[in-house]
Symmetry: C2
Subunit: 281 residues, 2 copies
């Protein structure tokens, strides 16, 4: 089975539209501002994808484009300004930042209740402690998909390849919060296949095309391919898709898998942030 | 080899004393306040152990004993008062709290820079993101011990049994920050032995006496026993000590292993908190 990220994302968008309608009935329209520093072409594309997704569901969106030589203090000042605006419910700082800017201090400056990417340390800490609020979108999309597929996470064997702050570490914490048994591997792991072969759920976020071969995958596993590497004109994942499909129960394609799921979670969390900020007392 | 927690803790205390002397040269004395709510006998003992450790190294310590029927708001008010006091550099809320009180909101009320237990969500989030500041003391003590033993964590196979907020989850994040391959198991894990046998470093924090038998331990592993269960008059750990000693390279005893290490980290972090708060500009 191909796990159709686009189709699941479309369902999430449908639910998000319904929530936006309820907000509209109270005279509220959710607003997202993306901050793009410099002119990284990949980042420009990602930002454009997010804005067009906002358009589809009815989230008002703006992009704040700062010059690549902006100072750290000017960046923080811009964020503080957005924190104060009542019509801005979500703030997304597009990464990576140009050399010389400190992403951690920028992310920590975003008001935690507007932190729709879930990277603020306060939100990351609540996540680690099991009180999930706004959480990173890719892990959330993967867990949402497993829920839709009816997979019981409690006691399941989860193996994550990659230990980034964006995917691996927060996903590990979220899986533990759901009582999965969790393994996290990465470039320093000595025998990767020995680990991946144990996985009932395998999530690969390494950025290494073709890393995961058929013989590294357990029969009947669900495989999530978070990798996106540009090879020539094409975007390719970390999983050797066709052969792995022969043994796995389900695999997300690249493109059309984890990418759309991530974007749909961003929309959903922007609405959640808006709901939290406009909650009726 | 018995991993002598007491001896390593004594070394940490010695280093801590030297740092306290440097502070004294600047006219500063670190201060710790413990908050004990109610009269749980085990908690009373733990608090007493911490105060006597403070005495040994020269940290001024106080205990604030609140009645067991204190309201949440009164508890938060007490914490806020301590946050404001310049002579208090560390605040430790002894857990568990009596029924009806919310520990998460209390811990989130402690000024993060005075959070010597490392449980504030901001500190937990920084930890998860790889920027460790004040961190939970038991995980810190285990990592410190491995450093002292000269164990290279990068690429090592770490298995943690137990996924609590106090030990398992923060330790997993700290091990990932050091590029270990990490597995986290717990009561929902289907085949615990299949996991523990993979461990070069095995940390057990399950609270189940005798859980870890010899045949569950890999040859040459380091085993940390975080369990403390009262059985009759004795405190026992989770590891079947004598038989496991036959296969392991090193095992922490209970008592005299992880306990003293944890207390020594509390002292060290109280001084770190004091140094951060009194840093010369």
């Amino acid at each position: 089975m191909i796990i159709d990220g686009k189709a699941i994302a479309a369902e999430v968008e449908e639910e998000t539209r319904a929530r936006i309608k309820e907000l509209a009935d109270r005279g509220i329209k959710p607003g997202l501002v993306t901050i793009l520093v410099g002119e990284n072409p990949a980042s420009q594309i990602y930002v454009r994808i997010k804005h067009s997704a906002c358009d589809r569901v009815g989230i008002r969106s703006e992009n704040l484009n700062l010059p690549k030589d902006v100072s750290q203090e000017e960046l923080l000042e811009a964020i503080r300004g957005l924190n104060k605006r009542d019509d801005v419910h979500g703030i997304l700082l597009q990464l990576p930042l140009p050399e010389g800017l400190n992403p951690a201090s920028a992310m920590a400056t975003i008001d935690p209740i507007k932190d729709v990417d879930g990277f603020h340390p306060l939100n990351m800490g609540s996540l680690l402690a099991g009180a999930e609020r706004l959480v990173p979108c890719t892990p959330k999309g993967i867990i949402h998909t497993l829920d839709r597929l009816g997979v019981n996470l409690e006691g399941s064997e989860v193996v994550i390849v990659g230990h980034s702050n964006v995917v691996g570490k927060p996903l590990a914490a979220m899986m533990l919060n759901r009582n999965a048994t969790v393994q996290v591997c990465h470039v320093f792991t000595k025998d990767l296949a020995a680990h991946t072969r144990q996985a009932e759920i395998l999530v690969v976020a390494a950025g290494v095309p073709g890393l995961i071969k058929k013989e590294m995958v357990r029969n009947g596993a669900y495989v999530f391919d978070v990798g996106t590497t540009k090879v020539g004109d094409k975007i390719v994942g970390d999983v050797d898709f066709e052969p792995v499909m022969e043994v796995a129960k389900g695999v997300t394609p690249v493109p059309g898998g984890v990418g759309p799921l991530t974007v749909s979670m961003l929309l959903s969390q922007t609405v959640t942030a808006c709901e939290m900020q406009t909650e009726e007392k």
